[in-house]
Symmetry: C2
Subunit: 79 residues, 2 copies
């Protein structure tokens, strides 16, 4: 089963990488861009009996390894 | 307007980072995980008059800066 985990910095955390990308886009002429924030995502192929099991496994892995809960939040999508 | 750009390695490209994460998850006891592939995502705040304009701008930026079309593919979501 495919699970996707999206990890992003919490809104209150500064994102210097995003700021740099915003600057690069402005330099290319894309002045319509107000802000960019960068995150990661993981596509997991999980051997699970049900969608619920895959989702709970993915959440557990996101908590333990894929994200840093101090500065990041995550979202899980299964299916 | 918010646009999200998801960038992932093309399926034919090896993903050593994903392999490492798979190994780390197995070491933590998550043997149900068959494969992990890692990607990036960008949340763009765009000053656009319509969803279509935001989408076409996001696609253009993904082509020119956010992804490397030789080894990566991307997906854009607006709204």
């Amino acid at each position: 089963m495919k699970a996707k985990v999206y990890v992003a910095l919490k809104p209150s955390i500064l994102d210097p990488q995003g700021k740099t990308i915003t600057g690069a886009l402005h330099a290319l002429g894309y002045d319509a861009v107000r802000e960019v924030r960068q995150g990661k995502y993981f596509e997991l192929d999980i051997d699970a009996a049900s969608v619920d099991q895959a989702r709970s496994l993915a959440r557990e892995m996101a908590d333990r390894l894929l994200s840093n809960p101090v500065i990041e939040s995550y979202r899980v999508e299964v299916g």
